[in-house]
Point group: none
Chain length 217, copies 4
DNA sequence: AATGAATGAGATTTCATTCAT
DNA sequence: GATGAATGAAATCTCATTCAT
């Protein structure tokens, strides 16, 4: 995003060639989002990518690998970067969490990425390696990132000395709730779910609950 | 036809007939748990139930209906009952939530029921009616139940006047986290996740966060 | 029909026992009429006969045999009897044909029997023996009967000396037309087909065509 | 895409693709002819067409549609053309009928087309739309064609003023007889049935019967 | 004699994958 | 590099037939 130097120097045909797999992955994301893994047909993906079935097999050895690529590659962009930011973060845990929730709302809830965890949840029985990968590369990274911030906040006396892992997972639980609601129940529901306000309430309650004495605010 | 119909007079195959659907549903639950809906084969279910493929079709018209039956019937037992208890509940919201979490741990996390929401999350694209059913019959029932308790607590001044629906969904978020972890990530993880302690921490933090003034405890 | 003596003396239980197969055959006729052979389900037949699938197998070794029984037994009643009458018939060929058409209308078009030839036509590939049986026992018997009457009429000079077999089959062609129309096209048609008048026109035209000189009438 | 598209530039598989549906329909006709609709297996059709089961589904969505295609497409070639000829026909009704019978003998009795009406008769219960289609597109077209010729002949005084629809269906009855005999009884019969002579006799008798006064010939 | 639960072979249909062009 | 016709294994579902009761 803000690293234009390398990308800009790729010659045209390289970008073309490199674009193909990305186009396929985009299409695959959309189709998996709609149908889940098993019910997604290679033909649908091909159609949406503007190629034919055969072409997909030039870039990916199987449907399963298409999915794995998706799961692997879509993660770094949204998260690994965020982790780096978190590590040098020096502000209050409270501000960090607000920022974290905001980013989640922007980058996940408002894009197709949200369907990945959904599919991993649904197909973990059939793709244990993928569940493992996701846990290690996404969940634990996110947990660690949060844990680091929390640990500093405990050290500072900003929040109570409670089990750090629990705090981190409690912080993530409403995120998971939004994700599941968005991908699974939203479209059949008429009551709307205002994710932003929900997460704001969570911030309020959660930090009041974590504060050492009286309320922090 | 006009023979006595008490239990002990039922002929052998009559007893089987009554037991069959339950046997099949049990087997189906196990297979769906392992494979998800799409990858589950009727033959697997039949085998596990100790019958043949054809037999399943004597009791259920299609694989989809087997699943719907599961989703429908396994819910009432765990939840609808709980709702009634909640309605006459008069104690503190705090105690109620502790009880609610405890029941969830017993009845859901320690049985196969936990796979149902997992499958519904994974297959909601293919079974929108089922997602709707689950939302209406499970999620909203549970939310309403919690909301009632919360409303009373707010009226009593036990907890702050925050949006009731948000509070209810915040209370359920850690439950969802446990569920997803248990069904999706637990078996590939080496770090253990102590659900009971996690939910205890949640109680602590959550109620401190909801308290009107200083800490309630 | 006019042989009450033997039937009347059957003891009650004999008639009961003998009634079962007949009930099944009646039901089978109705179901075959509606679905054809292949699409007819034993369960449907059983249901309509007021018994269960298993019972059918007490009386018939297979679905195929049920059908063969039908084809065999329903024929004698309508035709073999008629043949005897024809042999002693001494009137004009014209009157005989009028009578023959009238009987056909009553006994075939207004009963389910009409579906048998239909099914035999449709399934002759799968049941060659049955097609053979039907040709030998029904078509050729009918042809022979007509041929005998025609031969006498030719000898008498009532009709021209044309190939007897052709005359017989020409006499039967409109019958076949009625049969096929009735069983195949009638229910999807709005234009009505008045079989009686149609056969009257046939009598008129056919006998004028067969007359030796000028018109006979 | 912008390559020349003349026949000889078509690539090999393009030529196959165009030929495929016809190959499959030919095979299907043969198999349906032998087994009827229900007993015909897609595998048999595929085998006979020199492809595999799956290939059929590239061109036809179901077995039923294969059959409908057959019924629809094989009709125009034999009949619709004939109708046009009939409309401009100005000769005697007698000559027309001779011509009609001759064409029927050539185009229907000596090809597989004859099995289509047979199957429609046999399966009309299961495919009412098809029976309707056949009646409307074949039977009524043929009837109308004959009716037009007959009406002119009545106007000219060539034949008597009898109900036109009856005359038309009487003209067709021997055709139906040939058809049924050929497809159903011929192969199990030893007495041969000379269709040409049979239809010649019909011409003789039928027109003598229709003539207004004395014989027309 | 009758039942009806259970069977299992066999049918249609789908779709990931291959490969000649 | 791209195509898309063809494959064939596998899945769901049906139903004639059997047999313990």
């Amino acid at each position: 995003m803000d690293k234009p130097t390398t990308e800009r120097h790729l010659r045209h045909w390289q970008r073309r060639k490199q674009a193909r797999p990305a186009e396929i992955l985009d299409a695959a994301m959309a189709v998996f989002a709609e149908k889940g893994f098993a019910a997604a047909r290679m033909e649908d993906i091909a159609l949406k990518a503007g190629v034919t079935k055969g072409t997909i097999y030039l870039y990916f050895p199987s449907k399963e690998e298409v999915f794995k690529s998706l799961a692997r590659e879509q993660v770094g962009h949204s998260l690994i970067l965020a982790t780096e930011q978190a590590e040098k973060y020096e502000g209050s845990a409270f501000d960090f969490l607000k920022f974290f929730y905001a980013r989640f709302f922007e980058c996940v809830l408002q894009s197709d990425v949200a369907v990945l965890p959904k599919i991993i949840i649904g197909e973990s029985g059939n793709f244990p390696e993928l569940a493992r990968f996701w846990r290690e590369e996404v969940i634990e990274k996110a947990t660690d990132m949060l844990s680091a911030v929390i640990a500093k906040a405990i050290a500072r006396g900003e929040i109570r000395a409670l089990p750090i892992d629990h705090i981190a997972k409690l912080a993530m639980a409403p995120v998971l709730m939004c994700l599941v609601w968005h991908t699974t129940f939203e479209k059949t529901s008429d009551r709307t779910f205002n994710y932003t306000e929900y997460l704001a309430t969570q911030c309020d309650v959660f930090f009041k609950g974590l504060a050492p004495e009286g309320p922090t605010l």
